[in-house]
């Protein structure tokens, strides 16, 4: 399994990190980056360890080859422009040596590659199934065994393997949360399984990795890894129907939602809104970001989005609806009440 191969390669990681500037850079930047070298999952760790292993070999080759090249260039500079050096045409022993050495090195890298693939390509059998559907330009997440649909924020229990079945509703996207492991393409008409897991609590940044149109850059997501207990509470809350609006402004927002174009595209469980074109909004208020992870979920940002979505996310399929400031305020109150 991944852990075993991980120990086998631990030494490689320490040595490689020791002699390349990357090590220095990482300590400075990894803390804030969604770095593939700061993995929190078994799959991500196995991939990172293979990276360090290959870096160890390639860095050695790099130093060797560049040293030979620089030595040759500087050592054999012509002092007399008319000088004719010995005319050597080749050396079979040398040819055979470097060909063999290269082939052996590559065979070793391939063996390690195969080992890592075997350990990481298939999610464990007991994994929690999640369906990931890419849309232009947002992510839909379904928990088929739990009956939950949400968007752009995937909540998972710490330490439990997740089997993500990745597909697309339109063009090809690629689902990628670097610290949780490698990406998987979301291809319409296909379902690709990938193993997700986080061994620590936290929020992990990801985004679409395949050019999918105008707002490819704005198709972001977050994975929130929470304790098992908190996950259970979250599941309970998500399975409940949408909260009834109580405040007058929120009730007014409910009326706006149900009478304007909103209802045609979005679903809110327990209401007449059953559109499936845009994200499910049943528990919209519980999300920390809006517009596919572009903005924090605050009243100001939500108002800005509702006023003119394509201005926030170019090409957004949600059009400018021509809402009045009053209607927007009411909608904001309603949507944020959907905890």
């Amino acid at each position: 399994m991944a852990q075993n191969s991980g120990e086998a390669r631990g030494w490689a990681r320490r040595w490689a990190g020791g002699f390349w500037i990357l090590g220095i850079w990482l300590t400075g930047c990894a803390a804030q980056s969604p770095s593939i070298l700061a993995p929190v999952s078994p799959k991500g760790r196995a991939e990172a360890e293979l990276f360090w292993f290959i870096l160890l070999i390639t860095a050695g080759v790099f130093v060797l080859v560049e040293t030979l090249l620089l030595y040759a260039v500087f050592r054999f500079r012509a002092r007399d422009p008319r000088a004719i050096p010995p005319q050597i045409h080749g050396n079979n022993a040398l040819e055979i040596s470097w060909t063999t050495a290269t082939a052996v090195g590559l065979a070793v890298i391939f063996a390690m590659t195969w080992r890592t693939m075997a350990a990481t390509s298939t999610p464990p059998a007991d994994a929690l199934p999640v369906k990931v559907i890419g849309h232009q330009w947002w992510w839909e997440f379904q928990y088929p065994t739990l009956g939950i649909t949400t968007a752009n924020e995937l909540v998972i229990p710490v330490g439990r393997p997740i089997r993500a079945s990745v597909t697309s509703a339109d063009v090809i996207h690629s689902f990628w949360v670097p610290q949780l492991g490698g990406k998987m393409d979301a291809i319409p008409g296909r379902e690709n399984a990938v193993w997700l897991q986080s061994d620590v609590e936290g929020v992990f940044y990801g985004q679409c990795a395949e050019l999918c149109g105008i707002s490819h850059a704005n198709m972001r997501l977050r994975v929130r890894a929470v304790s098992e207990a908190e996950f259970q509470r979250w599941v309970e809350a998500q399975r409940a129907p949408a909260a009834q609006p109580v405040e007058p402004l929120a009730q007014q927002g409910y009326q706006v939602f149900m009478s304007k174009a909103c209802v045609g595209c979005h679903a809110i469980a327990g209401t007449p809104a059953q559109g499936r074109v845009g994200p499910d909004l049943t528990h919209f208020g519980s999300r920390t970001t809006i517009a596919a992870g572009l903005l924090e979920n605050t009243p100001e940002n939500l108002a800005r989005w509702l006023d003119n979505p394509p201005a926030v996310k170019p090409g957004a399929l949600m059009p400018r609806l021509g809402l009045t400031p009053e209607e927007i305020q009411a909608l904001v109150a309603y949507l944020l009440s959907l905890k």
Binding site: E66, F76, P85, T99, S174
Partner: protein, 625 residues
Amino acid sequence: MASQTMTMPRVYEERGLLAWLTTVDHKRIGILYILGAGFFALIGGLEALLIRTQLAAPNNQVLVGEAYNQVLTMHGTTMIFLVVMPVLAGLGNYVIPLMIGARDMAYPRLNAFGVWMFLLGGLFLNLSFLLGGAPDAGWFGYAPLTAKTFSRGTGIDFWILGLQLLGISSITSSINFVSTILLLRAPGLSLNRLPLFAWTTLVTAFLILFAMPSISAALFLLFLDRHLGTHFFNPAAGGDPLLWQHLFWFFGHPEVYIMILPAMGIVSEILPVFSRKPLFGYTAVAYSSVAIGFIGFTVWAHHMFAVGLPDVVNAFFAAASMLVAVPTAIKVFNWIATIWGGAVRYQTPFLFAAAFVALFVIGGLSGLFLAAVPVDWQVTDTYFVVAHFHYTLFGGSMFAIVAGIYYWFPKITGRFLDERLGRWHFALQFIGFNLTFFPMHFLGLAGMPRRIYTYAPGLGWEVLNLLATVGAFILALGFVVFFVNVVRSLAVGVPAPADPWDGHTLEWLTSSPPPPYNFAHIPVVHSRRPVWDLKYTGNPHPRPVVEITEGNDQIKEDKGEKAPEEPIHLPAPSIWPLVIAAGLTLFALGLVTHWIFIPFGVLLFALGIARWATQPLFPEAPGGH
């Protein structure tokens, strides 16, 4: 009677626009390729600067969304199809007939057609900016983003038909290279003595002939999907988007070798000359080019490790991709061994060629990470890949191309490029290149995907992106110096003799620039370094270089060789290749914009074919042949 008097001067020795429009001389065609590629390099380079300006800081607003995707797509498409491929075809066109002792390419009019098709195809592609928007789905044009449903404008159609036109150009020029190199070599120039640039161009021509049909078919199917309601790539109707990826990358990966092999050939010419030694391990270097060509067709799915192929399939393509590193490593070691023990002269062509080796090694090594499937799952479609392929295609191909231009400029123009400006150019290009692309390795590892027009602050990407942008402008400054050098040297450069670098191969046997007929006598070849051997063989001690003059009769007499007296057959100039190319371009324009262009295109095409077919190759049969 001396052979010189039998030489039939070509009509196109005239100056003027018409002489160039009707030329069938491989040297003028080579120059047209190189100038055209230079023009498109300016466009592609400005596109690169726009991209780097937008990405210099998070949430920048210079080039957003749709516009960014257009510039991104056109940058890639331009640099591949309108810069690297044609400039290599241009250098090959100019140099290879000279190198192998031929009077021209095998099919001179087809050669002219190729260059016009390239120039008009390139203009056609760029016309899309003015006619409703450029293509915006990436140079790889993945279905179904390119389907009519998701790309309604004409940009994708310009892309489809533009690539088809350019494909026609590539295929004709490849047929020409294969025929020329296999059939028109000077007496004694066996394949075993063929210069490496000709070897690699031969392999490249075969790669194009076998790879190009795959993308042509894919583009044709895509065009049917978009306009005639077929569903080859539409999953909702039983089509398959992955079919596109297989067809595209079956072309797309050999395409990488199409761009690097001739560059490796250039370096294999330059390093021996400037080290004053033969190429170390000639046979190994030549055969490794052939091996790269073959293995290059078995690695395409390494672009598709994240599409969900079975493990065994991924493993096969991983192994094949790693296998390609063996012949590549053989070349690198042989290049270093060529320099080793030499008498190295630090002139500009050598600087760029040596830098090619240094930088290409980095690109090759970073490629191993991408061949290792689990690492690829992480770094594919990130800036790590952008760094990797720019180290192979810029650090590799482009450095070699620049080296080749400094090397053959004296032959082509009769004047040297300036050495001092050349060193400035080298320093700026080397520093700028590394500053632009080395940080991108780290950006990829830090989780930055490719092809995003913007990013949020706070992800650790700001400093590295800013560095890359600064580097891009230094790189651009290097090319400004290059441009100044070219213009200045054309006017007031130091005049170059026939053999300015103490060269090895036949192109240095004739004057700089060569006469239209290249050689008064076709030289007889006895070794891999015919010109070197003329100068040095039988002299164990250094002696002054023989000054080689036009016609090389003196040397012939020295060596006791006499070429057979024969009239020199040179084909007549022809306008019809250009007319056919224009007809095809108008036809394509009609398909994309307004049908009115279609009949004109068909008419020009038919007229061109008919006149080409009936025009005699030689205006009058000389000497009763």
